[in-house]
Amino acid sequence: MKSNNRVNPPRRLADMIYEELFHQVPFNVAVIDRNYNVVEANKNFTEYFGNWKNKKCYAVYKKLKKPCKDCPSVEVFKKGKPIVADAVGVDQHGRKTHYVGHVFPLRIKEGGRVEYALEMTHTVTETDRWQQEYQILFDRVPCYITVIGEDYRIVRANEAFRNNFGEVLGQHCYKVYKRRTTKCPNCPAAKTFRDGRVHHSTQLGMGKRGQDINYAVSTTPLMRGSDNIAHVIEISNDITALKKLEHQVIEAERLGAVGQTVAGLAHSIKNILMGLEGGKYIVSLGLNKNDKEMISEGWEMLERNFEKTTSLVKDFLSFSKGRLPQLKMIKPGFLVKEIVDLYKDIAAQSGIELRSEIDKNVKSAPLDPDGIHTCLTNLVSNAIDACLMGKQKGTEVLIKVSEGRDKLIFEVSDNGSGIDYEIKKKIFTTFFTTKGGEGTGLGLLTTRKIVQEHGGKILVDSEKGSGARFRMEFPRKRLMALYKEMK
């Protein structure tokens, strides 16, 4: 036999390499048998965990007296496949240590059972762990995060962002978010670069598949020690679903308004029908009795109610006629003053004080002066009407104009109360007429319509025994958009 000819066979190069690798590899390597005995380990392992000879693995890794409950090697013996696991152990100096282990099955015969487990572990410091956790947080947090440089190029983007906007590193944010070739007007990141503060805004962007993405973005400066803001972090929440819901709510409101319009109209028509029926009854009774006076009385009644029909139809047509608001830049406080001048005396005669509160911060706004005048007139005359019901002293109607978060707010409130007031308020809010035979009940509907044409909404707030408050809200952005469109 060939081998017998050599007394001291030279070490094979491959063996030398393997041995060197085994000891120099920057891992703690150990081989465990099926009885938890450490049968081999490299230098790194020995330096880190101390003496291992004739010891059980759990005694070496964790200084325990019995096997660990979640032993990864047991898993490898059982399933024959490599696994990765992390664990907390104790080094040879008794210090707690975090490590990640890669465990591989070793078989003596190919296809045979797993005889040994090869464990390669590397320790992880607290900083490493934090970094890993931050990375996971950055990628998995359910919002879009990007970091933008002063040149508006994206330097980092999290997984959620990349999933929806694509791989975007190095590209301009405006191109990625909105497919623009120039910076966006009112860019919140630009504001943060300028003043170092947090800014918020809502935006409409475009995803990688061309889909609309509504998002609420907050920008915050990223400063590393110096005063210079080199980067801005943009954190955005996808509010596309919310926007859809909002749209559905507006649609439902619109349909609700249609229903109320029909109910209000039906009420007016029923009153007229009663008059027509009455006229018809009196005329036919007069004919039966040959009573001329009765016939003419009935006829007059018919005529009156036909006229009422005509004026109702006219009112209704003018209400239903769509009209774009004629927007002019005006001071909202001016409109309020006008209404106060107009109604002050009428209110005072009924013992009601009509007051106004005009917030100094309210800036000019593009409004249709005639339209808003109509709205305020309707609301104030309703409020005065409501106060008259209460009959108590010290009633007042207050018109307020103020600036909300990006919106202009008009408020008309009264402090009337009492049973009749409550009943009327209940009917008010469903938009019926309360003015005997005069009104057609379209006042509040018209108001709502004008407000909606301005892109705003009207809210009614009334609690039992505490008067009512009508609030018209006009988002500044929508007003400006309408104004630009009109121009």
Binding site: A266, N271, L276, I423, I427
Partner: protein, 138 residues
């Protein structure tokens, strides 16, 4: 002289119509166009039945109804509410008044009325006669 019926409605045409209908059916109609002095009028004429509208300026028919039913001398007078506010089948009296001690009105009619139905209901309510005249001990 037939039974006395008081009409309370702010619409002149409604008063005229109901007056003619009642008169030609053998009733003695009275009318007022607001709830303002209605209680005094009721006490004075002592009607056998009241036709009451809901939506009137200053005071609603509902609040007058509540006042009437709280008065032990007047509460036995039957009341027909005649209104165009809601449909007859949908009139939910309880939603207008939180006072549960007040019974719902004897009848609700939707404008415009059907004359035959109207007269039939009045006759039935007056004939049921289980209500002593005002001024008596209830």
């Amino acid at each position: 002289m037939g039974p006395k019926v008081l009409i309370i409605d702010d619409e002149a045409d409604v008063i005229k119509y109901l007056t003619v209908v009642l008169k030609s059916n053998g009733f003695l109609p009275y009318s007022i166009n607001s709830v303002k002095d209605a209680k005094a009028v009721v006490e004075k004429i002592n009607p056998d039945l009241i036709c009451l509208d809901i939506m009137m300026p200053e005071e609603t028919g509902i609040s007058f109804y509540a006042k009437l039913k709280r008065d032990k001398n007047l509460r036995s007078i039957p009341v027909i509410i005649i209104s165009g506010v809601v449909q007859a089948g949908e009139f939910d009296f309880r939603s207008y008044l939180s006072d549960n001690s007040i019974p719902p009105p004897e009848h609700f009619l939707e404008k415009p009325i059907n004359v035959e139905e109207f007269i039939g209901i009045i006759n039935k309510l007056i004939k049921s006669g289980n209500f002593p005249k005002s001024g008596g001990n209830s």
